[in-house]
Structures are given as structure tokens and as C-alpha cells.
Subunit: 202 residues, 2 copies
Amino acid sequence: MARRSDHTPEALRALILDAAEAIVAADGFAALTARGIAARIGYSAGTIYHLFENLDEVVLHIEARVLERLEAALTALPPTKDPEAGLKALGRSYLAFTRANPKLWGMLFEHALPKGSKTPDWYAERLGRVLAVLERGLQPFFRAEHAAERIRAARVLWASVHGIVSLSVADKLTNVTTESAAALIDDLVTTYVAGLGHRKRR
Amino acid sequence: MARRSDHTPEALRALILDAAEAIVAADGFAALTARGIAARIGYSAGTIYHLFENLDEVVLHIEARVLERLEAALTALPPTKDPEAGLKALGRSYLAFTRANPKLWGMLFEHALPKGSKTPDWYAERLGRVLAVLERGLQPFFRAEHAAERIRAARVLWASVHGIVSLSVADKLTNVTTESAAALIDDLVTTYVAGLGHRKRR
DNA sequence: GTGGGGTTTGAACATTGTTCAGATTCATCC
DNA sequence: GGATGAATCTGAACAATGTTCAAACCCCAC
């Protein structure tokens, strides 16, 4: 049986994550099984449990990777003069990312942690970095002393765009009309930003 | 075995749905099993499959019920003079509803249909009615000839509020800060509506 | 060489959705 | 009353799932 170190533990962890990610990307979160991962990398299912606590941990790690890539995509955007255009670019880039990886993205929100457990710290930290990108994009709309409101606005936008995208991916909104998610996101950002300007002027 | 008609088929369907709903409300979507439902109503698991195609159909029916109740809650709100206050009341009522039924509400979005299948027509219709309530609330902000934009705004708000609520329920946002979902929803509605006013004036 | 410790497996267990032959009961007709 | 047939219900079965773990194995250090 055992064939000691075809791969180092670290390499094996990476192999498992790559295989799991490929499965989700191709067939969705529901298709992810321990035996399926194992078959793809030529190991047995038991091996996975030596490197990860359980499948949930594997999933969390994939989610972290996805967030990491999203952050990279958002950070890579060229700076714009017009702050509103910058925010829209963020929104569209976000949408493009989810469109390019619909199954992977859907997983982030279909996957509910088991009841007792808390999201680990490193997960919250990854999410925090994505939010930070949004917070930077919102800087032109707030005075420095209103940082709390800016942070809240980032959260509102993140959650809202997430809502649009997730309903669109799950086909639970678009079947009512064929309105595209892109149009909704544009509407959201435009109108919300207009509202920010309006409020500032008060 | 068989004990013919303790309940009519319709009554049995209702029994199954009640039991399933109770399980989800108490322990979440993940705890819903055919055998669990059966045990709760004193039947065997097989019986469920005489009345429903499969568990997914049971779930869809519960979702429809939840949407129905949400629509009732939103419709029951007293009319307000101030349109913005009316929208905020809608948002808060929505949030209150989800807070009162967090597990049931979470199910609406954790539950992804099996890959091939489409959401049935009656499901889309139920969702459409909830959206219609929002569309009515948005009427004061649009001229009659801009119905398409109003409908889009309803969709944006629905999806956005859903995003906030679902992230909050899943604990994937609040662990970054303790910002409450209510504050985010208020912010969203206030700012978005301000943006609508701004745009109208252009 | 020869332990010993890390690695891997394969079989096992509990649970899941789902199916279905047969057992049971009820309504109806003769 | 008794028999017939349809509706109803069960229990056992199947395949698949996550997860565990004793054993089998291999490599490295001594």
C-alpha cells in the first residue's frame, strides 16, 4: 500500500485543493466528494483526512483561494480619475469574476458551516482584505472623520452586489425576467453613489 | 402495515410540510431528512415519496410557504405618507421576518436546485408577488412611463437586502465587525432612495 | 540490517435519498 | 355477507455519502 512521499505533505495538500477546486469549477459544489477528489489525484479517500480535518476544511481553503483571486482582480484595476467610474469598474470587475467562475463563486454562499463552528480567523481576514479594496474606492465620497460610515457603505455594497450575483447565479431571480445581473449592478452602484453625493451635500 | 386514510392525501401533504418546516425552523436545512420527517408524523419514509416527487419538491413547497408569509407581512404594513418611510418600513419588516425565521429564510438560498431542473412556474410566481410589493412601494419615485426602471429598482433592492440578510444569517459578514444587519439595510434604503431622488431631479 | 515513525490503504460504520414488492385496509359490488 | 380490486403504507433493500482506523508498507536513521 503505502508509497511514502510521492509528494511532500505540502504538495499533497495543494494537490487535494487543486483537484477539489477543479471538481467544483466543473460540476458545482454538490459534486464535491472525498472519493471524487481522491480518485482524481490517485490516492484513497482516507488520505485526505490525514491532511485536513474534514471536507469542510477543504472547502474553506478553496473559498479562501477564491477570495484571494478576487482581491487580486480588484486590486489590479487601473486607477480612475472619476471616483464613481472607479466604483463601477470595481462592481463590473466583481461581476466579471463571478461570471468567469460561477460554480466556484456560488460555493462561497451555498456552503453553510456546520452549526457549532465559527468561521476561522484567517477566513475573516481574507474577506476583510476584499472589503478594504471597496473601502478605498469609497474614500472620495467621505470625509476622513467619517470612516465608520465609509466602512459601512463598503459592507452595504459588498453585500448588495453579492445578493445580486448570488440570486443571478442560483437562477432564483432571473427567471422572473431576463434582466441581466450587470444592469442591476450598474443600477445599484450608480444610484447608491448618487445617494452618497446627495447626502454629503445636505 | 397499511392503515388506509388516517388522513386524506391532502391532509397528509400538509402534515409532511408542517413537519419538514418545523425541522428546518428548529435545526436548519441541513437537518432535514426524509426519515426525520417520517418519524415526526408517525409514517415511514417511503410514504413521503407517494405524495412528493422527492425531497427537493418538499423543500420548494416550504419555500413557497415562506414567501407567501413574507408577502403577507409586507402587505399588512400600514400605508405611510412619506414614500421613503414606507420603503424603510418594508426593509425593516423584511429584516424582522428573516430574524424571526432565520433558519427557514436561510434555506431559501442555501438550497440549490439539482443541476438540470428549472424552478417551477408557481415558484417564480410567488417570488413575483413579493417583488410586486416592492414595486408598489417604489411607485412614488418614478413616473408612470418609467415602469421598467421601477421594476429594475425593485429587483436591485430585493437582491441587495437579500445579500445583507443572507450574509448576516450565514455569519460570513458580521464576523468582520459587529455591525448589525438592520443598520446596513437602513443605510442601503436611505442612500439608494436618496440616489433615486437625485437622479429624478437631473 | 533493523527498528521505528511517517504514509497509505481498504474495509468498515452510520446516514443519506430513493425504490418497490408485497402486506394491509377500505369501498364497492354481487 | 363475502369477494374483488384499488388505494395506501411499510420495511427491506440499494447506492452513495463522510469519516474512522487497524493494519500494511516504505523509507530513513541508527
